[in-house]
Amino acid sequence: MSLSDVFSAARAESRAALIGYLPAGFPTVDGSKDYLRSMVESGCDLVEVGLPFSDPVMDGPTIQAAAEQALAAGFRVRDLFDVVAAVTDAGGRAVVMTYWNPVLRYGVDAFARDLAAAGGLGIITPDLVPDEAEDWMAASAAHGLDRTFLVAPSSTEERIAMTARASSGFLYATAVMGVTGARDVVSSAAPELVARVREHTSLPIGVGLGVRSGAQAAEIAGFADGVIVGSAFVSAVAEGDAAVRALAADLAKGVRSAPATV
């Protein structure tokens, strides 16, 4: 199973894929395994396992607080691979979303090796652009991992093309200029950005930043290949397992209520 299989399977059902995010170690290492399994069981086609970092400049207050809580509870980078393995063992598919410094410190090749061994499919890199990714290009190739770089509304055509060429699996389109966090309305910049990206690539495109409801998921599923939900899952954890499952089910219904674009 690779990332392209995840998106192909969703396309075969004429729908977008649902991608749910939760930081490893939040609220505890075992707790994050349980919640991620619940997300898989309740309709997430793919989960993004976040690596808690001390200085999360792309994250809003919700995910910042979750990362702080995980680190305060003693989360270590090696725990990440356990969490990914737990998802994989439960029949789920996982990628890792991480700021780059912990990967640098672990060793880019060693990190890729251990992630692949745990069954992880790739890494989303919010603060690593392809321009600086030479080591990661080599390590991902060596260990068969996919590379998801980000594109933003401010990206030039040239950069979108370059970023798409460097990516594999899927591209991550940030729907708004800003940090992570649930928002009430889907940004109008998102469909425009996705349309621009499609000019340059046939890779699946996931849209994230600000999605929290089934209705929003349906709207995004109307123009993107994947709907990415993060902060809303983090908030649901505070209400317990039933809330996490209910959110995943609502979003899963949302991605099925709009025809996929391709």
């Binding site: 792309m58 780059w100 410094n101 640098l104």
Partner: protein, 406 residues
């Protein structure tokens, strides 16, 4: 050589000084740093920009700053000591050089809103000042802990028309203020310039901040040749993020016989783990947009720095310093809080100059290396700022309110 003349020490087109620097930022910010780099490339060669910058340095900031011989302080250092008096600039430190340059660039880019981070408040006050002068909107992010420690500077910024936002996330100090400024920038980048206060961050910040501060070294070199008749044996500066140090170092970087000495905040001592000596004790990593030495644990989590000087209390350092350390062109060592405070008191008493505690680290460094140079040796110390802002710390440290004596 002019202040903006390209040098063989410039980074490559993507901002690399050897393996250091670069741009480790979200894609959403790449357009903004590209725009800034392109604008700076034009501005540095545009006589109109250069003249306007120099006019502001002269008529507003009060440059050139003096070079003062510190003969009585020098008796304690065992060698001759001259002070580059950045403390005499408007707003009380070297920071004004960079903020005037970047504020002018902001105007050139047609942006109206400026954001900045500040630790002790020096950079925040300087930024608020430049924005007031040039009619720009100004928002300053400051860790909540620092707003409490530096209430007077918060009042200064507000008086100058800036909005000060206390940052409540993370350790609630400088590094978190930078995180919050970056979050604001990525959200409002169309109309906003992030006026970064030190020679760190993603390209082109380390280059342009350095260039705006190169005036320090250019003046110091001319002045010491005129006054002492020769180049110094060493130039000494404190290093937090490293902006004042890189500015004065560059005046002498092509003089191979002049040692470039950076003095880091040793806090309670390196063994205590409570310090900010990034170059001495850190390891390679990426923080706030660039590869450089950083203070981090085995997992790559950034650790908190500790220094009695809020302005040096930073777990990262500008990438060019990492490069200068690696190639051996500059040398870096720490002094402790106690050594810095001793130098702080000594300069006050012997010369009638109260230095910033940041700059007192450079003075303590001079006291350490002076004896090895002997009475014929010659040091230039960058006195990067004045100590008025540090009176609360001094009162507490020396017990001055209770009749104590430094």
């Amino acid at each position: 050589m002019g202040q903006f003349t390209p040098t063989p020490h410039d980074p490559d087109a993507r901002g690399h000084f050897g393996p250091w620097g670069g741009r480790f930022v979200p894609e959403a910010l790449i357009a903004a740093v590209d725009e800034l780099a392109a604008e700076y490339d034009k501005a540095r060669l545009d006589p109109e920009f250069v003249n306007e910058f120099q006019r502001l340095l002269r008529d507003f900031a009060g440059r050139p700053s003096l070079l003062t011989e510190a003969a009585k302080f020098a008796e304690h250092a065992g060698t001759r000591v001259w002070l580059k008096r950045e403390d005499l600039n408007h707003t009380g430190s070297h920071k004004i050089n960079n903020v005037l340059g970047q504020a002018l660039l902001t105007k050139r880019m047609g942006k109206q809103r400026v954001i900045a981070e500040t630790g002790a408040g020096q950079h925040g006050v300087a930024t608020a000042t430049a924005c007031a002068l040039l009619g720009l909107d100004c928002v300053v992010y400051m860790g909540e802990v620092d707003t409490e420690r530096q209430a007077l500077n918060v009042a200064r910024m507000r008086l100058l028309g800036a909005e000060v936002i206390p940052v409540k996330s993370g350790s609630r100090t400088l590094k978190d203020a930078i995180n919050e400024a970056l979050r604001d920038w990525v959200t409002n980048v169309d109309q906003t310039h992030y006026l970064l206060g030190t020679a760190a961050g993603p390209h082109p910040f380390p280059l342009l901040v350095r260039d705006f501060h190169r005036i320090i070294g250019i003046e110091a070199r001319e002045q010491i040749l005129e006054k002492a008749g020769r180049l110094p044996d060493a130039v000494v500066a404190c290093v937090g993020g490293g902006s004042n140090a890189i500015g004065i170092f560059h005046g002498f970087i092509d003089d191979p016989d002049v040692r470039l000495v950076g003095v880091e905040p040793g806090g309670s001592g390196l063994d205590s783990g409570s310090h900010g000596a990034t170059l001495t004790a850190g390891t390679p990593g990426s923080l706030h947009g660039a590869m450089s030495y950083v203070m981090q644990d085995d997992d790559g989590q950034i650790t908190e720095a500790h220094s009695i000087s809020a302005g040096l209390d930073y777990p990262g350092v500008g990438p060019e310093h990492s490069h200068l350390k690696d190639i051996g062109r500059a040398e870096y060592f720490p002094v402790t809080d106690a050594e810095a405070m001793e130098a702080f008191a000594l300069l006050s008493r012997t010369e009638g100059i109260i230095p910033a505690i940041e700059s007192a680290h450079a003075l303590a460094g001079a006291l350490k290396i002076g004896p090895s140079l002997g009475p014929d040796g010659l040091l230039v110390v960058n006195l990067s700022g004045r100590g008025d802002k540090d009176m609360d710390t001094a009162v507490e440290y020396f017990g001055l309110a209770d009749g104590g004596q430094a």
